[in-house]
């Protein structure tokens, strides 16, 4: 029984098809990468799962989470699942946190919303969460404002927030793209460890095959809103069937990435 089953998903915005007939399947605890250039529809697919697409988007097909159909659910029903069964880490850590709310409050918010924690216990939980993602001096961090943290620290906050309720599914949308190269590796390792530890299923969105190959055994390639190739990441890299996939492999190699045979 799959945890997330997307069947024939199409998204149209303003009459333009941005995602067309995408089908994906993710088992509990499994990791799947969604690869493509910007504008390929990978982020929109993720937002469709979360029910966070703009109002003007028309969505057809089917998205099932643990057997329950998500398309057609109202905002209220979806809000009970978001941050509880499924969570998301966004690309831009600089703008993803509310600038007028202290870190601790934002960290513990999923627990307040879904577990009904009172203020005191939520504050304690926030400190634990901050420590879990390796933020230095968690007591201080929870009392800080977002603008006082670095990009890498904020992205850790974003990850801790997403995993606060131990959701069954985590969607990570290019979580390291906006970070300094020096902290990207740390961030990926942290993500890897935590997902492993909690047994969370991961839908990892990226344009970078090099990053994906180390994290996800399975990958799906998206181009212009359509799925062009799907399979084991190793196979995909070694013998891409589609020319577009080949281009992505070449792009990754061009930046000095070793072949996966060597990496693994």
């Amino acid at each position: 029984m799959s945890l997330l089953k997307i069947t024939d998903l199409s998204v149209r915005i303003g009459g333009t098809a941005v995602v067309e007939g995408v089908s994906l399947d993710l088992a509990p605890g499994e990791r799947l990468a969604l690869i493509g250039e910007s504008g390929s529809g990978k982020s929109l697919t993720a937002l469709a799962v979360m029910g966070l697409l703009p109002d003007s988007a028309e969505v057809t097909g089917s998205i099932r989470l643990g057997g329950e159909e998500l398309l057609g659910l109202g905002d209220r029903e979806l809000s009970r699942l978001r941050g509880e069964r499924m969570a998301m880490v966004f690309q831009e850590p600089m703008s993803a946190l509310n600038p007028l709310m202290r870190i601790g409050k934002q960290l513990a918010e999923p627990l307040r919303l879904h577990r009904g924690l009172n203020r005191r216990r939520a504050a304690a939980a926030a400190v634990e969460l901050a420590a879990q993602v390796g933020l230095p001096d968690p007591e201080l961090v929870v009392r800080s404002w977002p603008h006082q943290l670095s990009g890498g620290q904020r992205q850790r906050v974003g990850l801790a927030m997403a995993l606060a309720t131990r959701p069954a599914l985590l969607i990570a949308d290019e979580p390291t793209t906006a970070l300094d190269v020096t902290v990207q590796a740390d961030m990926l390792k942290l993500l890897d460890d935590l997902v492993q530890q909690h047994g969370t299923a991961l839908l990892f969105i990226s344009h970078d095959l090099a990053v994906v190959a180390e994290l996800c055994p399975r990958a799906a390639v998206l181009k212009d809103g359509r799925l062009v190739e799907e399979g084991a990441t190793d196979t995909l890299v070694r013998s891409p069937r589609h020319s577009y996939t080949q281009r992505l492999v070449d792009a990754a190699r061009a930046t000095g990435w070793d072949t996966p045979e060597v990496a693994r």
Binding site: L52, S79, A87, S95, L97, N98, E109, W145, Q148, M161
Partner: protein, 316 residues
């Protein structure tokens, strides 16, 4: 933050000083002559000179300014050269009308402009949002005094629910009548201030709706509405508060007009009467008082702005 408060307070003092010099110079240097006014058109040059001397107008400007500002600091905002009444003496009584008028109008304006502005932003693509936005635009184009007159036509002339003008002679000793006579002035002032406010709130909320962190909040389990309430509004308040400071000057002007339309014996009407009589000493004090009020409220608004924005708070 303490350093900021001190610096901002210093700036306030400088601004008040600059405003007082400006008012003083404009009223003293421009070639109108109080002495001539008091003496009357037929006064001989000798008589005018005598009046000038009595009023201290033949002293050096710095000395005149010094004695004026010295009075102001000790609470003496000037005395009529015509009938001897003083601004300070009348102020308490006049402010008992203008204060409640202004405060009530601002609260009322906030009361309808904030929810309607939010509505116009959230439902911007719907007919309802468009209609609210159009009403706001129309509201800005309505002259305050005309709104007042229209309200009088409807509520005082047609249905006769409320008095068309005036304020009870005993003032707030008759709270019921005092309140009733303020209802239409409140509505008038609130409608014209609120229309501007509505536009500000709408654009601030529109801006917030596009923010990434609002999406983050929804990803954590907020509904659209609860995300806006818990995360959005506080952020939208920041730019609204900062323009609120600029709106204060408009509020003061609006209050003066409204007092005239509804014949309310407030600070504005006192000013209009004194301007009509060319009672320059009183006008000088009253203008400084009103400008000072604008500057002081602007100061408070700036501090509030700092308080709700942590980025500004931690910066010096």
């Amino acid at each position: 933050m303490t350093l900021y408060v001190l610096r901002r307070a210093g700036l306030l003092v400088v601004s008040l000083f600059a405003a007082s010099v400006l008012i003083f110079l404009v009223l003293r240097l421009l070639p109108g002559d109080v002495a001539q006014t008091i003496g009357g058109i037929k006064a001989t040059p000798t008589q005018v000179a005598a009046v000038r001397h009595d009023l201290g107008l033949d002293r050096p400007l710095t000395a005149q300014y010094g004695s004026w500002i010295g009075g102001v600091v000790t609470g003496d905002f000037g005395r009529s050269v015509l009938d001897g009444t003083s601004v300070s003496g009348q102020l308490a009584e006049k402010f008992a009308v203008t204060g409640p008028l202004a405060v009530g109008a601002v609260l009322l304006a906030l009361g309808f402009a904030v929810p309607l502005g939010v509505l116009a932003a959230v439902r911007r693509d719907s007919r309802l949002g468009g209609a609210v936005n159009a009403l706001g635009q129309l509201g800005i184009a309505l002259p305050t005094l005309w709104v007042g007159l229209l309200l009088v036509v409807v509520f005082a002339v047609q249905v006769r629910w409320l008095p068309a003008q005036g304020f009870p002679v005993d003032g707030w000793d008759e709270p019921g009548r005092a309140l009733r006579s303020l209802v239409l002035p409140w509505l008038t002032l609130a409608l014209s201030e609120g229309a501007v406010l509505l536009r500000f709130v709408r654009s601030a909320v529109l801006d917030v709706l596009h923010q990434d962190w609002l999406r983050t909040a929804r990803a954590k389990g907020h509904t659209r509405t609860s995300a806006l309430l818990r995360h959005g509004l506080r952020n939208a308040a920041v730019p609204v508060v900062s323009v609120l400071g600029l709106q204060i000057a408009a509020l003061v002007a609006g209050a003066v007009v409204v007092e005239q339309v509804f014949v309310l014996p407030g600070v504005g009407q006192m000013l209009i009467t004194d301007v009509g009589n060319r009672d320059l000493d009183k006008v000088q004090g009253e203008i400084l008082l009103l400008t000072g009020a604008v500057l002081v409220i602007g100061f408070v608004v700036d501090l509030v702005h700092r308080l709700i924005d942590p980025k500004l708070r931690s910066a010096v």
